[in-house]
Symmetry: C2
Subunit: 245 residues, 2 copies
């Protein structure tokens, strides 16, 4: 892990760009974080395109820092400045074509789009976690917050250092992920934008139902894909305070 930039934000949060091999990422730590007072970490998932997502990510990170957490994110495979994958691009184009033509998005397209992404991204998140937890100012437990929900579900299942996850239901879910979801045991908070046109609401409800965790909560709101109300963001903060502190 190599830090490539560093700036102090207005609220004292330290923002550091990094690369891990070829993967770019950003780490935010609260002013108080130090080797003698290390802070728990929240991994922040997103749909890909770090630069485009930056304004929303930095806001989420600053809220997390105010709660006493470090926050980190990495670019998704095949997004932003990272090399494209032909198969993923093709699946994306097929998805757009289907949606544009008003046709149903088939399981076959969803599998081709999401499964390779999960397979590529999950190991990258775990390697990133290794690197982040080796920093003296960061300590477990760790939370995962955000989309892509299939990545979050698989991380929740396979990565024992992740103790709680807040999942954004806003992307297509391959059928096989419902089986994987049954193996989840950690506390989960699922955010669903009820009237999000690009979201398959029934699939999100089915996935929530499938999640094996005894402590799982669904919070559904109006307002479209990016319209999660501020009070739910605040409540997500309280979710991590309950489970990571």
């Amino acid at each position: 892990m190599r830090f490539t930039s560093e700036q102090r934000l207005d609220d004292g949060v330290l923002e550091r760009g990094f690369t891990l091999g070829e993967i770019p990422g950003i780490l935010w730590t609260p002013e108080s974080a130090s080797a003698s007072a290390p802070v728990p970490l929240i991994l922040m998932g997103h749909p890909g395109g770090l630069q485009r997502m930056y304004p929303r990510l930095v806001t989420r990170a600053q809220h997390s820092a105010a709660d006493g957490f470090a926050a980190a994110t990495i670019e998704l495979p095949g997004s932003g400045d990272r090399p494209r994958f032909a198969a993923l691009e093709e699946a994306r184009a097929d998805l757009r074509r289907a949606v544009g033509a008003g046709e149903p998005v088939t399981d076959e397209i969803v599998d081709r789009l999401v499964l390779p992404l999960v397979e590529l991204a999950v190991p990258e998140w775990r390697t990133t976690l290794d690197a982040l937890l080796s920093l003296p100012e960061i300590v477990g437990p760790v939370g995962y917050s955000g989309g892509v929900i299939s990545i979050g579900v698989q991380l929740a299942v396979v990565e024992p250092r992740i103790s709680a996850a807040l999942l954004f239901a806003g992307s297509f879910v391959p059928r096989v992920m419902f089986e994987e979801a049954r193996q989840a045991t950690i506390p989960l908070l699922v955010l669903l934008q009820w009237d999000d046109e690009g979201n398959d609401r029934q699939a999100a409800l089915d996935l929530f139902d499938a999640l094996g965790s005894k402590e799982k909560t669904l919070h559904a709101n109006m307002g479209g894909h990016t319209g999660v109300p501020q009070f739910e963001g605040d409540d997500g903060g309280r979710f991590f305070v309950r489970h990571l502190k």
Copy 2:
């Protein structure tokens, strides 16, 4: 409205039993409430049986008082010490028979059970509201919190003094209520216990979908009918602070 009992609880909350005509009820007011500093009011719905429900109601009222709200409840028609209605009793017996025999609960039974209850209870709540708002220590805006969800939905639609409602999805919903729900405009928070066996989850989701309010939120949790987690109770408190203060 005639006060029939009065006691000061440990946390300073004043609990007063009252009758309004033949309807028994309870009013809780925070220590601070006075004619010169009146407090907003939360009407607390419940499934009927004031004495049986008292432990849970007083806990909810004390939380509301800590947030600076008065809270009040009345006995449902045909419940507790109130005279029984033959038609309601018959519908209840038919419901029990159907559930006991593992048969589906028909719309016809649900209509016979819930519609008369709504028709009787809603005017009683409104009369109670008249009386409560005439007390110098209580002032609008008013919230409604609890079940029976069909009563809460109709109150949210017909009673302009109610500014926000927290609805417990835990009772059968007559088809006609879905039409009524579309007329709702006030902020709503619906609590759903996801794995509540006595609850029709799909009906609750359909009702949430039907609600006309632009600001509506669904919070679903595990843990059975009475297992609403403490953090959701706290969040319900914040919902009313946002909308009644």
